[in-house]
Structure formats: structure tokens, C-alpha cells
Symmetry: C2
């Protein structure tokens, strides 16, 4: 077990804000990004917590991002809120568009927030959970880089293309999932490589399109989607919905436009919101009880709802008032303040 | 190879209409159902073609369905079209709501058609393809019966919960998929049983929740979702979106309400439509070209787009003016006219 450093929740936010400001993000962006990192760290979501400050700093050093971009929301009388991040990080644009998304979902019954021209590095669950917090069901998707081969293919075309969904539960943490449509995360393959371990079958192909269990061959080749041709079809849907539908880049285009290694991808995002009250004809309460019976039937047989580990970490960390990160990470983060 | 009977496209529709009318469906329902069976048969989609007439007839014999139910569309100033099938088969209600769904998607940028109080037996791809035919992206889901265990579970709670998506392509058949979120279709397990074959690993558990490869033990136990915990999460999302969201039954409730074996399940349906022109800010043409580059990159590496086999069958059957069904099926269908 690696030695750990304890950070209070204020320290997490403070450290993130300091690094981001020092890196060149203005106060508005630093606040939006620090808020996201804080939420992930609170849930012990280490891969998307303070660790991501390296990517935020590298993206700024690379020079393409605008650390002071003011997002612009296009006027709209439809159910679509179009937010232009104008070359900044996605989070400030999402923050700017979210109140209007919620308002439009209540008016139209369903609504969408699209974010264009943004750098993107974050988990999707905090944004769909915010919708659940407003009593709405939320669904979000983004492309990434073309590291993933379609079913039956021989090279990377699709992104890791995550899909996140959240459903509001009265007086409870929402039902939430947020998963990559690749079988493995790219970072997991890196970990196998460092550990000198072979990959499981069926997660990657080499540069010639042949199945491989060698991590380096997989990194040189392509990952596969989860769930065979079904996962592949779903991943293509995500490319379309978060790319051509919203006038933004596919994973292949995003990769071609990418900066140096370790920088955030540049692509769009779509967030959909659904109002249970409008969809159910005003019977949201009765249907909340119906959804609870479904969840109970899942939990009663010993299965877990997605995100339960994250919610448990949140409750524990909130109660004790601090989170733990590895000492090594904490030490390395200090270098970003030099 | 089983001997085949050739039927012209008119004969397919005529036979379906005759059986449905003879079974007790009125002309409007018989027309809507026959149209669906005709489209599936045209695409050599045997499992959802004329074969389903047995289910339509059995459902009528069971006595719960109303073969003359006139669907009612609720007045709406939101993006949601709520169609009440009033205890009839879903298809006439979908037919009634579809023009309004398309109109609302163009006005609001996105829209939903929900169908309540319906019996449902049909493939979802024809409906999302109709949206693509109108230049919209379409997404549809339904629950079914609680035959599928959640990841880590020990008994059936989820339905086979299909997800269908279609994306419009200028001058081409749309990009479409329609897959069950169970790893296997229930019918496939029946086929393994009849053939005396063992199931592959990972598709089913027995009644004690243990993995099984025995088809009968699987039928007595539960199926598993495709793609492990990710497929399971997706299936739960479909339960919520096509059940509690729209004030209709979950798969477990649908199963409890079910008629005799071989009858159509009774549950709701949700169909979502997205207008690329509104979402892209009027740049649908440029983004159509972008989507085509994505498809070309998939096909160029030897991978197939979903539905290619179906589209090839459609082209061939349209060109020759007839379809082929097994002689045995054709003979058995005659008994439905007695």
C-alpha cells in the first residue's frame, strides 16, 4: 500500500485552484475545473480527480487552449441549448448552459445542451448527476481519440466514447452510471504494461489487426469495444450523437487536431435531459415508487447498482472531512506550482 | 436446407392481413401490423416477419387485447407526444403519433413519442428508420419480460430490453442498429435446446444463480446481459426510460401481467427523434459528409456497418419481387385461417 496524504475538502479545492491559476487558467475556468476535480476526489474517483491537473497544465503549456475563453450561449427558442466554449475547457461552458438546460427540459419535457469547440478531460457523471439533482433524468456522451477499432475492424476509428446516465431518486443518491464503450480504459493498458502483465483476451488488436494480449502491441494497435458488435454499434452512435449531430469532431478528427501527449482532447459534448413529470403526465411520484421497486429487486438479489462504491466513498469522506491521495501524487502536484 | 415457398410482396401483405382480420383485428390494426410484418419479411428478418402472426393470433385468443382499440393522442404543447394505445397493439398508436413526432422534432429540435397501454411484439428498427427517412436521428427502447439477471444477480429482473438507433444518410440506407441487451435472444436458447447443444459460457445462470451452459437450466433460471456490468447498466436505463419515465410497466410488472405463453408482452415504448439541422445550427450537410467519412473509415478496414445484411436482402427481394419463407411456416400459417 502506497503511503497516503490526507487533504481536507478545502485543501483539495485550494490546491486545484492554485495549480490551475498558476498554469494560466482565469478565475472562472479555475473555479469550474477545481469544482469538478473536487467532486471526483470526494468520491475517490482517483483517475479523474487531482491527478488530472497534470493534463490541465500540459494542455495549457501546449498553447492551443484559451484559459480565459468566455463561453457563449446561442439564443434558442427550441429545446436545444448550444454552448460555444470558444476554445476553452468544457466545464465553464457546461456550467453556463446547465441552468438553461434544466429550464428548457421542464418547458419542453426534454432538452439538450451541446458544447462545441471545447477541450474535454472530465468524467461525465457529475453533469448527469446535477440533472438528477434537479429531478431530471440525464444522458451524456462524448467522443475521444480514435484508439478503438469497430467490431470486425483492424484499426482505431472510434473513441473510448463514454456514456453516462443518471436517474433521480427521492431522498437518495441517484442511479448513475458512466462507462467507456471500450472494453478497457487506455490507462488500464498502461498499468498492465508497467506491471509486465498480459492483457485478458478480447480487449485489443495489434497494428496488423490481429488479437493481442501484449500491452505495448495493444497501444501500437487498437483497443476493442466492450460487448462485441453491440458495444461497437453503441460506440458509433456516440460518435454520431456527440459529433456530426452537433457539428463537432469525430474521434478521428479530434485525434488529428490533438496537441502533445498528455493534453486534453478537443471535441464536443452532448447532454440530454428528460423531465419525468412531463413524460409521465404528472405521475412522477407513482413512477418513482415503481423505479424503487426495480432497484430493490436488483439489490435484494445481491447485485450492486452502479456507482455504489463511489457514493460510499463520498459519504465516508464527507463525514470525516478529508480525502486521501497518494503521497507520490501529492509530491508531484507541487511541481506544477513551480 | 428446408424447402422454401416464394411469396410476392403483395402476397405477404395479403396473407398477414387475412390472418389478422380472421383473428379479430379490425382493418386499421390489421393494416398497421401487416405493414410491419411485410417490412421485416422484405428484409429477411424471419424472426419478426410472418412468423409473428402466431403471436398476434395467440394474443387475440388470450382475450386481453382490444383488436379495435382506437389510439388516442394526448394534446401537448411540449416536445412529447403521448399516445395511448388503449389496450391495442402498439403499431397503430405509433402510426398515429409518428407524423406529430416528426413535426415536433423539427420545431423543438428533439421530441419523443411515448406509447402506453400497448401490446408489443415488433422489431424497433422500422420505426427508427422511418425517422431517418424524415431526416432525423431516431432512438427507441422497450422493456420486455423479466428473463434477464442484472450483473452480479441471481434471478431475472430485466427484460431483453432492445435498443434501436438510426441515423439518416443522404441517398443511402440509414445507419441502423437494433439489438437486445441480453447476451442471447430467448429464442436462441430454445434453438440450442432443440438441437441438444450446450450454450456458450457467460450467457445464462440456473435457478440457483450459478452459471450454466444447459439450455433448459437457463430457461428455468435467467439470461445474462451482453457486455457484463456495462450491458447490465444499459438495460436498467432502458427499464427506466421505457417504464417509470413514461408511466408504464417494468419488465417484471409486464411479466406479471402477461397472458398465456406465446402472447405478446404488454408494456410501453419510447421513441426519441433528433433533428440534425437544429442540433448543428443549420450545418447538417457538412456534418452529413463528416458522418460519411466515419462510415467509410469503418467499411474500408473490412468491418461491417450494422444492418448491411438486412439492406442487401431488401435490395435483392425488391428486385426479384418476392421473398422466401420456409414451406413449413407457410403451411402452419394456413392453420391460422381455419
Amino acid at each position: 500500500m502506497e503511503p497516503k496524504t490526507k487533504l481536507t475538502l478545502d485543501q483539495v479545492r485550494g490546491l486545484a485552484t492554485d495549480v490551475l491559476t498558476h498554469s494560466g487558467y482565469d478565475a472562472a475556468h479555475a473555479g469550474a475545473i477545481a469544482g469538478m476535480l473536487h467532486r471526483c476526489q470526494l468520491d475517490d474517483c482517483q483517475s479523474h480527480g487531482l491527478f488530472r491537473l497534470f493534463m490541465c497544465a500540459a494542455t495549457m503549456r501546449d498553447g492551443k487552449i484559451d484559459g480565459a475563453a468566455a463561453p457563449r450561449i446561442a439564443p434558442s427558442d427550441t429545446a436545444i441549448v448550444r454552448a460555444d466554449a470558444r476554445g476553452g475547457m468544457s466545464l465553464l461552458a457546461v456550467q453556463a448552459g446547465m441552468p438553461l438546460l434544466i429550464e428548457k427540459a421542464r418547458v419542453h419535457g426534454m432538452a439538450a445542451l451541446t458544447v462545441n469547440n471545447c477541450f474535454h478531460f472530465s468524467a461525465l457523471w457529475p453533469e448527469v448527476e446535477d440533472l438528477a439533482g434537479a429531478g431530471l433524468a440525464g444522458l451524456s456522451m462524448v467522443p475521444s481519440h480514435a484508439w478503438v477499432a469497430p467490431a470486425g475492424g483492424r484499426r482505431g476509428t472510434l473513441g473510448t466514447n463514454p456514456l453516462a446516465f443518471s436517474w433521480p431518486r427521492q431522498g437518495k443518491t441517484p442511479f448513475t452510471f458512466d462507462f467507456a464503450t471500450s472494453g478497457f480504459a487506455r490507462g488500464e493498458i498502461e498499468l498492465y504494461k508497467r506491471a509486465g502483465k498480459q492483457l485478458p483476451e478480447g480487449v485489443a488488436i495489434d497494428r496488423d489487426g490481429n488479437p493481442t494480449r501484449d500491452p505495448q502491441a495493444a497501444l501500437d494497435g487498437a483497443m476493442l469495444t466492450f460487448g462485441g458488435h453491440k458495444g461497437s454499434a453503441l460506440s458509433i452512435m456516440i460518435e454520431l450523437m456527440a459529433g456530426p449531430l452537433i457539428d463537432d469532431l469525430t474521434s478521428k478528427e479530434s485525434q488529428a487536431a490533438a496537441g502533445a501527449d498528455g493534453t486534453a482532447p478537443y471535441h464536443g459534448q452532448i447532454i440530454l435531459a428528460f423531465d419525468p413529470d412531463q413524460f409521465s403526465g404528472g405521475k412522477a411520484d407513482a413512477n418513482d415508487a415503481r423505479a424503487e421497486r426495480l432497484f430493490a429487486d436488483i439489490v435484494d438479489q445481491g447485485a450492486r447498482l452502479p456507482s455504489q462504491r463511489r457514493y460510499a466513498a463520498r459519504a465516508r469522506n464527507l463525514a470525516r472531512g478529508y480525502v486521501e491521495i497518494s503521497e507520490g501524487l501529492h509530491r508531484d502536484l507541487q511541481t506544477l506550482l513551480e
